[in-house]
């Protein structure tokens, strides 16, 4: 019973904070609300008996990545977004792009619905596997990550490397050494 209370409390907080992230005019508040959302997610992981994932979430997302976000927001000193001053000539505001956006949004909702339906029909206990091993433990997670899911793991790291190289290439000005 306390677990389900915590679940609704934390997931409500996560959803509310995420919704407010989009609603804010001030990017600084958006970043802070995103941190609240991440913290609520970490709380959900703890409820699901995965303290390691929860702490990784706090350290990597809420701790490191969001500090970087804050850094960038502060460095650019982004002004408050004003609806009236919004650039209507921006390429993303063209009707063609809006239509693509609508299609993508519908696709996303359909996909989410499909995934949710599948999870509900499975009805499996969360946090445990069929053989009774607890996924939340660091030992078990490391083992699974480097055996069963080693391809996905390596592919993800290559993907991140590609993104990093891409960022360096894009940020490098012509003529720099």
């Amino acid at each position: 019973m306390p677990e389900s209370v915590l679940f609704y409390l934390l997931s409500g907080l996560a959803v509310a904070a995420s919704a407010l992230v989009i609603g804010q005019r001030n990017p600084m508040y958006s970043v802070l609300l995103l941190i609240v959302s991440f913290a609520a997610l970490a709380g959900l992981y703890i409820v699901l008996d995965a303290p390691f994932v929860a702490m990784a979430q706090m350290i990597i997302y809420a701790g490191a990545i969001m500090v970087l976000f804050l850094f960038v927001v502060m460095l650019l000193n982004a002004p408050q977004e004003d609806g009236a001053e919004w650039d209507r000539t921006h390429p993303l505001r063209r009707p063609g792009f809006a239509r693509i956006g609508v299609v993508l949004a519908v696709l996303l909702v359909a996909e989410l619905g499909w995934a949710l339906a599948k999870v509900v029909s499975l009805g499996s206990p969360v946090g445990g596997r069929a053989d009774g091993a607890v996924i939340g433990s660091v030992r078990e997670m490391g083992r699974v990550l480097f055996t069963q899911y080693s391809f996905a793991f390596e592919a993800t790291s290559v993907l991140i490397l590609v993104a990093m190289v891409g960022a360096v290439v894009l940020a490098r000005r012509e003529g720099d050494a």
């Binding site: 600084m28 941190i35 702490m55 500090v67 804050l70 502060m74």
Partner: protein
Amino acid sequence: MDQALLRPAVIGLMIFIVFNALIIASAILVYAERKIMGFMQQRYGPYLVGPHGMMQPFADILKLLFKEELRPKGADKWLFTLAPVLAVVAAFAAFATVPFGAETTLFGLLDEPIKLGVADVNVGVLVVFAVTSMGVYGIVLAGWSSNSKYALFGGLRASAQMISYELSYATAIAAVILLAGSMSVREVVDSQTGFWLGFIPKWYIFLQPLGFIIYAIAGVAETNRAPFDFPEAEQELVAGFNTEYSSVRFALFPQAEYINMVTMSAVATDLYLGGWHFPFVPEYLGWLAFLAKVGFILFVYIWMRWTVPRYRYDQLMKFGWKYLFPASVINLLVTAAMVLYFNA
């Protein structure tokens, strides 16, 4: 007496003691810092309030309590108030999973022995790390919400410094976790009992000398202390992130900084210096050994502040990314190989 009632009472008492000990510790550190600085500069330091000026920190805090709270006109009302609270809450909360003594029954008062420490969780090392990394938001937000260029630069520096040194810090800790085979701080401490060759205590500082140095340097940078006190850097930024703060809101920042120093030293003691284990000290006095070790590290902290000049900002970044981080990665790889070789 009823054990079912006594146990929560003892745990509640422990929370109360730890909370107040941290407050007192920051008062002692204020005094110690000024006194040690005085001796290093051939002066007496605070001398007038109380015997040998011992009441000076309390006089300081009283003075700050009665000062007017100012807020710059263009400051963000909410974040300006939230920032110092955030900093100090994170500082207090981080100590929750730091154990400071062996199991005890409090001289037979309890049937089941109780662990000295507020909470013992199986990912305790990560909890300390996660909560301390929340503390930087207090500094960054203080810098941003003040609507002042000096404060903004202080906040910017704090965030960049945090990102740069957190990596080395975590990688150094990971090597200790590998050796101990556990993420619980208590289990890491307990794996350091016993002796090599009968007289060298089995502390991880002897297995991880490089790791300890990396931890210490990154720890000083994480707590924004000299020679890495860039967010404040009074010669360049007036007072950095807390330029616009006054009264109690201002007092919370040094408070958070001193508590963070205590946490950093306590974690160093637990991970590298054998925690409450010390040769020839019986286990029930272990917490005294723990306090002595923490006190020594804190003394070195202050000693360093008044001896080593501040780095330049580009030197800080260069040192962090080009030397400290590669060294910590090599340290982790060698440790992992050694653990694999000797345990296989």
